[in-house]
Amino acid sequence: MTIINDQRPPASGAAGLAGVAARDTVAPRSRRRYSADLSALGEPALWGFGGALALGIIMIAVFLMAVLYNGATTFWPKPIERVELTDGTVIAGVERRGTIYRPDMATLPEEVRAQVAADDGFAYRTLYQTANFDLYGDDFRWVADFEVADAANPADFYYFERQTWGVFVGRIAGMTIDGQEMAYDPAVLQREQRAARERFREIRNIERREIGGINHLIERERLNQRRAVLRQGEEAAAPVVAASQERIAELQAEFQELQARANEVRAVDRRYTVTLEEVGGRQITPEISQIVRYYPANTIGLLDKVGIYFARWWEFVSAEPREANTQGGVLPAIFGTVAMTLLMVVFVAPFGVITALYLREYARQGRVTSIVRISVNNLAGVPSIVYGVFGLGFFAYAMGGTIDQLFYPEALPNPTFGKGGILWASLTLALLTVPVVIVATEEALSAVPRSMREGSLACGASKWQTIRYVVLPKALPGIMTGMILAMARGAGEVAPLMLVGVVKLAPALPIDGFYPFIHLDRSFMHLGFHIFDVGFQSRNSEAGKPMVFVTTLLLLALIVAMNATAIIIRNRLKRKYATGQF
């Protein structure tokens, strides 16, 4: 180490300094070389750069750790505490967090005053998720330590996740299986809950898939009628309308049948209920199928906890949201984010690359190309919300409105393309990210050695052949880098999307089983917007907080995954090119 350092010039960084220290002991004469001004050595600047880098890394690490910690622990089952307060009330709930605070001495009862005063006027309080919103009207409660008379973790308390109304915390008082009232039996309830969820899915399947399909056909017939009337006039369209009415009547009959089937299952479902009792003794009797998941929070073993943890994650990434997006899954949002980003790449890639190709390879370099370049660079600095406004005004209202009048007059005044939708959103984002692609592509093109072009031209290839077979392959990895940057920016962008098609709840995905299968006019959900919405717009922001972290974690993972895929593709291209060269 010392030997190597000794051979280096002293100005080459921290290693050089170490070398100097080593040399100092041997030859004191060299001290003179460092009598120069400190700033001339570059060392303070180096420390500054290193420090800035370290600060940046630390900040990113802390941010990632916070998201990871909060996101990863959200789904872990936590115990239920039953707390008796000194004023006689009893609450049961899951501990969420706690803080130290200064209680107002004047309002404290005589006996705790001394106790709080002994702690310099500070006390500790805990936030409990008491749940049971339908009975209490709220779901959280602060309890100060001095209020607690007794706390325990009773074994018979369960944590229920319900289809509606959110979480319930309480005991199981009894159950009704196939109309027969009986005492609670864990094995029976477990079996029946699975069966009930199966029934629930069956009802949903009939309603969504089968009835949904019929409704879709009826709607199409209705639009067909209107189109015929609009095009041919009331009288000429009469036969079309009559035929269509007949078809609708047929579909209606089919619908009745399906409806009856769903109602049958529902009737069965109502015979299976469970009676739940909250800590104060009030009872509710929901159908078993309403219980998405339940577990005895205080007696559950580690293995079951792990099972619940992963089951919740699976539900989160594979299910639809419920309770106004604060529970359930985010599948539509994941789908929307990915579909919108990919669609954006489809638009931005050809436009960006073609523009850069022309600018770099064909256009005469001069004042005009400089102005174009400066404009493109400036475009990258325009606030994204401006693109959103442009997208809404130009794409949705102007273009979409015209498309509606020309091609979808039968649906008016309901707009088809004349509102925000996934097509307009990805076009807006493509506009937003096209400067990134242009700049990166130009850089990549200019990095292709002149000798290669000249070699190709000398062999008799035309200009286009040179670009197609020599320049573009060599530049592809660089172009891909631009694409990755554009994708990262596009997937994380939310502000303009709120104007051009992102919605809180878009029940239908942009791709489904109904003709024409890909519905570019549909609004969609987006993970970024989901975070904003759940965090800042939901009724109970306390309950929404964990979801914010989980969704953030998921969005980060999604962007990393998309970028990683692009990087892998880029590396493959690089390798392919490297072997092709020789």
Binding site: L135, R208, H216, L505, A508, R539, S541, G544
Partner: protein, 323 residues
């Protein structure tokens, strides 16, 4: 409008009794919703963010009856509803305040008739303070003196410290930090009209983009005070009572808000473009029916608002020609 609200809900409250502490009862006279056939299509709702969650719950409930109905919901503030209705980009324009005259005129200029509102729920605005704040009750004049720069309510001076509303000890010198909504919000407009007596907000009010952001702001600021729908309350904040005209203090409960004694309560509206000469198409008609059903008003409670009574439901259904 306020009159009819007070009257009808007072009747309902008497009839239902004040059973549970906070949990709401639903008028048993409201019909139970039953699905009909042939309802399908796309609907878009653009407007109030206060109503965002409620619209979502309604559409979730509506979709259990009509699986292939797609309802898209955007909520950026009540001010975004009228232009969306005029442009035809939305079929529903949820608003947390009635439309202004100019907005109605603009709509009328395009279509020749006025937009039709339905009253979907009752919302009380709570004035929230930090949970450790000992203040119990403020008069409307005091609220005005805190939030406004004009003090149209008649207060002599602006309230800037908590000592000015009678708090003592360490609270006496603690500054009042105001949190409010952004100007596109209907809550902003309504609060200005009622609590500020039509005056102007002080420039010190920190404008927040959402109802629960106001709550979060107040929760994190010991001297904070803010207004938001009572449904957004968390355990971190406390809704204070408001002193009515009779000098008594009233809490934002279903009874007091409904009877109009609690002064900052309002209807939540959903505006629609309904041609008076044509029948309402089944899709929207069924949605209106759903809102005024047992299930629809259950959703209202789930969203943290106060449910309507049958009396109002019948009035509005008649206005839509759906009896």
């Amino acid at each position: 409008m306020r009159m009819s609200l007070s009257l009808s809900v007072a009747v309902s409250v008497l009839a239902l009794g004040a059973g549970m502490a906070k949990a709401q009862n639903i008028d048993p006279n409201l019909p139970v919703y039953e699905a009909v056939s042939g309802v399908s299509g796309n609907l878009t709702s653009i407007g109030s963010d206060t109503l965002n969650n409620l619209m979502t719950l309604w559409s979730e409930g509506f979709r259990t009856n009509y699986p292939n109905v797609a309802i898209q919901i955007q909520g950026a503030g009540s001010g975004t509803a009228p232009p969306a209705l005029v442009e035809g980009t939305a079929q529903f324009g949820p608003m947390s305040r009635p439309m202004r005259g100019t907005e109605i005129e603009e709509f009328e200029a395009r279509y020749g008739y006025e937009p039709l509102p339905m009253r979907g729920a009752i919302d009380a605005l709570g004035v929230f303070v930090h949970r450790d704040n000992p203040v119990e009750c403020l008069s409307m004049q005091e609220v005005d003196a805190i939030f406004s720069s004009t003090r149209a309510g008649g207060a002599d001076e602006a309230i800037t410290t908590w000592g000015q509303v009678g708090l003592t000890g360490e609270w006496a010198d603690r500054p009042v930090a105001m949190y409010g909504r952004n100007s596109a919000s209907g809550t902003y407009g309504y609060f200005r009209e009622v609590a500020l007596f039509g005056g102007d907000y002080s420039a010190e009010v920190r404008e927040q983009p959402g109802s629960s952001t106001v709550i979060q702001g107040v929760a994190a600021d010991i001297g904070g005070i803010g207004y938001s729908g009572v449904g957004y309350a968390t355990a971190d904040v406390k809704a204070i009572d408001i002193r009515g005209a009779d000098g008594e203090c009233y809490s934002p409960t279903a009874e007091d808000a409904g009877s109009g004694i609690y002064p900052i309560a309002r209807f939540l509206y959903i505006y629609m473009n309904v041609d008076p000469n044509a029948e309402l198409e089944p899709l929207r008609a069924e949605f209106v029916r759903y809102v005024y059903s047992q299930q629809g008003q259950q959703d209202v409670v789930r969203a943290g608002f106060f449910p309507l009574v049958n009396f109002i439901a019948e009035q509005d259904l008649a206005a839509f020609g759906l009896n």
